[in-house]
């Protein structure tokens, strides 16, 4: 067990190293010379060769790639992710400024998705193969198939513009959080609904449920206490794995609702070719994502030692 744990930690470290290397190396995909492309993007005009040279020297782009990577990584480990080209602020403080908004949105979205998914999934399973079940399934299919940015605009149109219930954009109050959280939570809710339903169907057939029923336990208690409690274990694992999916979605949803957050920060940085910010956001999200997956894996392993240990990494999305 201990040896298996160490092996996992070893491959976890390999993955983190690979992630940081790729994150740093991504910039070099820039067609042509990164320095002059970045400058052209920033000033909207071709830079002089002297300016390009100066830029290269200032940001260490004239060093060999490996040297650049190693010094970036050693700084990053110490919490220094460089300085934004566009805003001349340290990337780390930008992240600290924007991360809470995204975290708040992600948690709210996961909360809403659980609120939607657990009742729907349970009811679908209890009324298995009836019109109630089929309606639930249909709504879940719709939920995963809608582009989230489109859903966002539909919600803005109905709730903000027509009904005037919520503010259109921004962040700060509960009112600002409701629509983005619903937008972001819907797809996750749909995925979770399917799993809750499947997991409940299985639990309702288990022997302990029969035992409870034969003891004369009321059906409501059988469903909520006996079956649901056991059905929720795989659901909680999936909630963890959905975190990466939520981070993906947050990028677009933040743009739709013009919410300051990691997503809007990243999109702006991509268009401005603000390399240190791009690297910082990607490094932080990927590290968070892979760590959470690892924790979920370990937790489910601890809960159910029969499970095969899998390698690190997330689900299909």
């Amino acid at each position: 067990m201990i040896r298996a744990l160490f092996r996992r930690l070893g491959s976890f470290a390999v993955v983190l190293a690979g992630v940081s290397f790729l994150t740093y190396g991504l910039v070099f995909l820039t067609p042509g010379d990164p320095a002059s492309t970045i400058l052209r993007e920033q000033r909207q005009s071709p830079p002089s060769s002297a300016a390009t040279e100066a830029f290269r020297a200032e940001h260490g782009l004239d060093e060999p790639f490996v040297t650049q990577y190693v010094s970036w990584l050693t700084d990053a480990v110490r919490g220094d992710l460089g300085t934004s080209y566009a805003r001349s602020e340290p990337v780390a403080s930008l992240l600290v400024e924007y991360l809470p908004n995204t975290l708040e949105l992600a948690l709210a979205a996961i909360g809403i998705s659980l609120l939607l998914a657990v009742p729907t999934g349970v009811v679908s399973a209890v009324y298995h193969d009836t019109w109630i079940d089929r309606t639930g399934q249909l709504v879940a299919t719709l939920g995963v198939s809608m582009p989230n940015f489109w859903l966002g605009y539909l919600l803005i149109l109905v709730c903000s513009l027509w009904l005037g219930l919520t503010p259109v954009s921004g962040a700060g109050t509960i009112g600002h959080l409701v629509l983005p959280a619903i937008t972001l939570g819907t797809a996750t809710a749909a995925v979770l609904t399917r799993l809750v339903r499947a997991s409940m169907l299985e639990a309702l057939e288990a022997e302990y449920v029969d035992t409870a029923r034969s003891k004369g336990v009321r059906e409501r208690v059988v469903v909520t206490k006996h079956a649901l409690r056991n059905a929720l274990v795989p659901v909680l694992a999936l909630v963890g794995l959905q975190f990466g999916f939520v981070l993906n979605g947050a990028v677009v949803v933040e743009v739709v609702f013009q919410r300051p957050g990691l997503g809007t920060l990243l999109v702006d940085a991509v268009f401005a070719r603000d390399v240190p910010v791009i690297q910082g956001v990607v490094l932080v999200t990927a590290t968070a994502f892979v760590s959470i997956n690892q924790l979920v894996d370990l937790a489910s392993l601890a809960l159910d030692p029969r499970l095969e240990p899998t390698s690190i990494g997330g689900g299909a999305r």
Binding site: W150, Y153, A286, G314
Partner: protein, 309 residues
């Protein structure tokens, strides 16, 4: 009786034998099961219709998707323009039809690259074991460590905004899941007696991979790829919406929503039509994929459809 007569007779005979053989085969399990599966039929109908629209639509569409008619700006749905016109007076229905071509085309290309890349790496890892396997699987772990859309966004943005770069980005990010699935399937089948005996006979590894292992990984890959089409379409629409994909004046669904959002209150049809188109396409792909999985992989756990025993 001339030579040509006997020749055509022979062709006819061969054709009827072929048709009989096809009928006989389709009466056996997978074909009939496929056709009697409701989800496969629904998904197939949706995807088929869309493919037809993408192929034929542009030939019959009455308008030019990029022709601006400024005096007909932001018209609501009318007989001449069933889905209205956009801010530049372009016919929304026509743009929707051309957009189908873009979305389906890029989804097919990106998914195709993912399948080829992922299957190759998965086969290689599963067959070789040892150091090669470990190295390839760490590569898979590293790829899956990035939230997909974020990685695709950064790759597409770094390469520069264009439809081609979105296709490249979406091709590079999604292959790892295939590699994992294929490797799993290979490991599962490798210990089977028929593979063992092939090995005992001294069949070369490459031949074992092609003749014995590849066929058993085909069905999980087909299921995954079908479901992936929908995911890729959503991701591509999202990237285009952010401004990284199709550039104006190309008609693309995500871009159409991005263009329409300015007129959310005054012309809500501008975002409604492309949104419905994307959702419908993804529903089609997902439904087809779920149905295929039910037919091809009856032991799958997540569908919750296992019969009460």
């Amino acid at each position: 009786m001339s030579d040509s007569d006997t020749a055509s007779d022979r062709v006819r005979l061969a054709a009827s034998r072929f048709i009989d053989a096809v009928r006989e085969r389709s009466a056996t399990r997978p074909g009939t099961r496929l056709r009697s599966n409701g989800q496969v039929r629904l998904g197939g109908a949706i995807v088929g219709t869309l493919a037809l629209v993408a192929l034929v639509g542009p030939l019959v569409a009455p308008y030019d998707p990029t022709a601006q008619v400024l005096e007909a700006r932001l018209r609501g749905p009318t007989l001449a323009h069933p889905l209205g016109t956009d801010a530049l007076g372009r016919d929304v229905a026509t743009r929707l039809v051309y957009g189908a071509r873009v979305s389906l085309g890029l989804a097919l290309i990106a998914t195709g690259v993912r399948v080829v890349l992922g299957t190759t790496i998965g086969l290689l890892a599963g067959v070789s074991r040892g150091v090669v396997d470990a190295a390839l699987m760490r590569l898979v772990d590293i790829q899956l460590a990035f939230p997909g859309l974020i990685l695709a966004l950064v790759i597409a943005g770094t390469l520069g905004p264009s439809l081609r770069n979105v296709v490249i980005a979406l091709s590079v990010v999604g292959w790892a899941t295939y590699a994992r699935v294929v490797r799993g399937a290979v490991l599962g089948v490798k210990e089977q007696p028929f593979v063992e005996s092939a090995r005992l006979y001294g069949t070369p590894n490459r031949r074992i991979a092609r003749r014995h292992l590849l066929p058993s990984v085909v069905s999980p890959v087909v299921v995954l790829a079908t479901l992936n089409l929908g995911t890729v379409i959503l991701a591509a629409a999202g990237l285009s919406f952010l401004g990284l994909g199709a550039q104006p004046p190309t008609a693309e669904w995500g871009t159409m929503i991005a263009d329409g959002r300015t007129y959310l209150r005054s012309a809500p049809w501008l975002i409604t039509a492309p949104g419905v188109a994307i959702a419908l396409t993804v529903i089609g792909c997902n439904s087809l994929g779920d149905g295929l999985r039910d037919v091809l992989d009856p032991n799958h756990l997540e569908d919750g459809k296992r019969r009460r025993s």
